[in-house]
Every structure is written in C-alpha cells, then in structure tokens.
C-alpha cells in the first residue's frame, strides 16, 4: 500500500508543477497541431485516403510529440537535484517511475483527445460514433509510449547528447506500438468500424511486459 500512497503524492506533484508551468502540454499540443495541419495542406487527402493514411500520420505525430514531452521528464529533476531528495524520501523508488509514467500517459492522452476533433475536421473522418473505442486505443497506445519512454528519459537524462539519445533509443523500440495503434485506429476509422481485439491485446501485452521490466530494473536507472 505504501507504493500507492507515494505514487499518489508524487502524481499530485507532477500535475501541480505541469499545470502551473504548462510547458509540456503547450509544446506537445502545438507540435501535433502543426504536423497535422501541414500534412493536411500538403496532401489535401480525400476521405478514403484519410482513412488509409490518417491513422499512421496521427500516431507518428503522437510519437514524435511524445519524444519531445518525455525529454524533460527526468531532466528537470536534475536542475535542483530534486531526484536525490525524492530517492531519500520514498520507500519504493518504483513509485517515482509510476507517478511519472502516469502523468506522462495522462498528458499524452489529454493532448491526443484534444487533437482528435482537429484531425476529424481536417481529414474528413467521422469519429463521434467510435469516440470511446478510440479513447481506449489511445490510452493503451499512450501507455505503451509512456512506460519505455519514462525509463529511457531516466537513462538519457544522465547521458551526454541527451537530446539526441532519447529519440534514438525510444523510437525504434516503439515500432510495435506504432503498428498496433495505427492498425487499431485504422479499423475504427474504416467505413465499417470495428474494434480489433487482437491489436488491443498486443498493446496490453506490450504495456505489461515493459511495466514489469521497469518494476524489476527501474531502481538501477535512478542511481548516479
């Protein structure tokens, strides 16, 4: 139970500092908006083209935006050495990861949900009927991005060339998440929408495997 209490306290801190500075959310929303709008103007896709290419474009923009959002996750703990203060205070260091990945998932999901209507208008796709199913896919996909992303953010924050290190480590690893999320989203945006349980199961499996790995080895990532 201690880990849940610590995670709740730390998640509260993550949300409070972000909603006070609004650095991550603003950057991510603007970044995704720019990509989605630029692609729309460049290709001017028809409805059928949008259904074919839209999901891939959407998830690629989410992925690049996530690599931007995850970068400062541990980096800003180094400014005043607050990570050391956290390590000295928590009983279970996994709670630090749990709070950060929960906050990252929440921020990503919020950004994605905000971007969905913009995407629907610009790409002429109907999302209202499948909105809840889309949110489920977005949630599992975002969790799949946030779990390894948070871990690699901890690694890259201690490395040289850290700005380059995170996307280099993260993006190849997230290829399975990109494929599964794109396929699941594409199936929902189809003329005959369907919720693909196989891709959802794959995303859930990916999340469980990486969460377990983080639980087992996360403590070593926090060491100096």
């Amino acid at each position: 139970m201690a880990i849940l209490g610590e995670t709740t306290v730390l998640l509260g801190k993550e949300l409070r500092t972000e909603f006070r500075s609004r650095e991550l959310l603003m950057t991510t929303v603007v970044f995704i908006l720019v990509i989605v709008v630029l692609f729309s103007f460049t290709f001017d896709p028809s409805a059928s083209e949008s259904r074919r290419f839209g999901p891939g474009l959407l998830w690629l923009s989410f992925l690049f935006a996530a690599s931007l959002m995850l970068q400062p996750c541990f980096l800003r703990e180094q400014t005043n050495d607050t990570l050391s203060a956290l390590r000295l205070s928590v009983r279970d260091p996994f709670s630090i990861f749990l709070a950060k990945l929960s906050a990252n998932t929440l921020f990503l999901l919020l950004t994605e949900v905000l971007m969905l209507p913009v995407f629907a208008v610009l790409y002429n796709v109907h999302i209202l009927a499948v909105f809840l199913q889309l949110v489920l896919v977005l949630f599992l996909g975002s969790l799949g991005v946030a779990i390894p992303g948070t871990a690699f953010s901890a690694i890259s924050s201690q490395a040289r060339m850290r700005e380059l290190m995170l996307p280099l480590l993260l993006l190849p690893l997230l290829t399975p998440v990109l494929i599964a999320s794109t396929e699941a989203t594409g199936a929902l945006l189809d003329a005959n929408p369907v919720l693909r349980a196989d891709w959802l199961g794959f995303l859930a499996g990916f999340d469980v495997v990486f969460l377990t790995a983080l639980w087992l080895f996360g403590e070593y990532l926090l060491e100096e």
Binding site: R16, N80, D81, L88
Partner: protein
C-alpha cells in the same frame, strides 16, 4: 518545536572506493564516526568530500568497500530512513511554494502531521511569511533555508551537509550555526563538508582532510583542527 526521539548513530566507512572509469573519486577511505560526533570534512575542490557524503546518504553506490550505521552498543540500525541531507543544490521544486515543497517530502517520509511539521519548520527557518511563495521567487539564501528545513523534516539521527552555508548571508550563517548546535547537542551525528573556518565549522568536534580521494589528516584536537580547516581555505 517538539523533538522526536532518535537513536544515536555511528557510521563506519570501511575501505570505501569510488571510481568513475579510470578516475578515482575516493581511494580506500576508512573512518569510524562515533555516535554524536560532528565531523567537518575539508579539502580542495575535487578532493572527494561530496562523493563521500553522497555515499553516506546512499545516493551513490561505492565501487568497493562497505558502509554501516551502528547504534551506541554496536548494533546495526535502520538509519537510512532517518538521514537528513543538504546538497550543493537546493533539492527543492521551483514551481512549488515553500510549504508545498515541505508537505511533499513530509508526506513521502510518512510524517504523522505533515502540515504541522511543515509549519513549525517554516517558522524555524524564518520563512513563515513567505510560505505561499513559489521557491523560484526566492533568493539563494532563502532557497538554502528551504533545503535545510527539508533535511530536518524527519528529525534525523544523522545529518549530512554539503557546504550548507552556500548562499547564506552573515545573519543566515549565524542562524545556521544556532540550528546545527541545536541538532548536535542532543547527540545527533553530523557530517559536513566545509571550505575554510567559519562560525559553522567551529561547531565541529573532529576535522578530516581529504586530498585526491584519500584521508590525509584526521584529528579531534582543537589546534590541529584549525590547521586542517585553514589549509582547506588556502
């Protein structure tokens, strides 16, 4: 402020080494710190003072050697949870207020009444009136007071201070000396890195000089302590 009971704690460093690649930060450091001792670590920049304190705080893992915490009768104690640490940096969140910072760490440390404890410490460090101000609006000295308040949250039995007077004005240094005396007198063990002699280093009961990661002088005698500490400032 009501003091919580604590176990007087000694610290034993046995052949501690810390290497970063081929670079030695510490070389076979062996020290026995008695319960209640106030040790000032002196030495030039890069001599290993900070690394030794961070190993004692268990923030850094030693490459070899062992570290143990012992009660007065020699039994092992769970001192990690009752260790206060003040580092070079403030270890406080700029986007939180002084009170929010203390509440955060008090809750994480499982302190019974975090709000009362935070309020008492803010009063003690002279920041009651600025408790609702964001830390990023504070001067360096005020941030250092927040850092010291955070380190004192759990009434630690071992206090580790890495140049705690950094950024404090003369009035702040006098306040810090008073606070440390109050912490030392009941028998807390204090390890502190210093640069030269000051009102604060004068509280030490033992001085250890480090050079290139090795202990080169160690004394409890007043006159020798002066020599060790002034060498550090030379």
């Amino acid at each position: 402020m009501t003091a919580r009971p604590f176990t007087p704690t000694g610290i034993r460093f046995a052949n501690i080494e810390k290497r970063y690649g081929s670079l030695y930060a510490l070389r076979r450091v062996s020290l026995e710190i008695r319960p209640g001792e106030f040790v000032a670590f002196a030495g030039r920049n890069g001599s290993g003072k900070t690394t030794l304190l961070r190993i004692a705080a268990r923030l850094v893992r030693a490459s070899s050697g062992s570290l143990s915490f012992e009660g007065q009768s020699g039994e092992m104690t769970d001192s990690v949870s009752r260790t206060g640490f003040v580092a070079h940096s403030t270890m406080a969140y700029d986007e939180l207020t002084a009170e929010e910072n203390l509440l955060l760490f008090a809750r994480l440390q499982g302190i019974a009444d975090p709000r009362a404890r935070a309020a008492a410490l803010l009063k003690e460090v002279g920041l009651s009136e600025r408790r609702n101000s964001l830390v990023r609006t504070f001067s360096r000295g005020m941030r250092q007071r927040v850092a010291i308040a955070r380190a004192l949250l759990n009434e630690p039995s071992v206090l580790l201070l890495d140049e705690p007077a950094t950024g404090l004005d003369p009035e702040g240094i006098t306040w810090l000396a008073h606070t440390l005396r109050r912490m030392r007198d009941p028998g807390r063990t204090i390890l502190m890195s210093v640069h030269g002699e000051s009102e604060i280093s004068a509280l030490a009961t033992r001085a250890v000089r480090l050079d290139a990661g090795s202990v080169v002088a160690d004394t409890r005698a007043g006159s020798d302590m002066h020599a060790i500490l002034t060498f550090a400032s030379a």
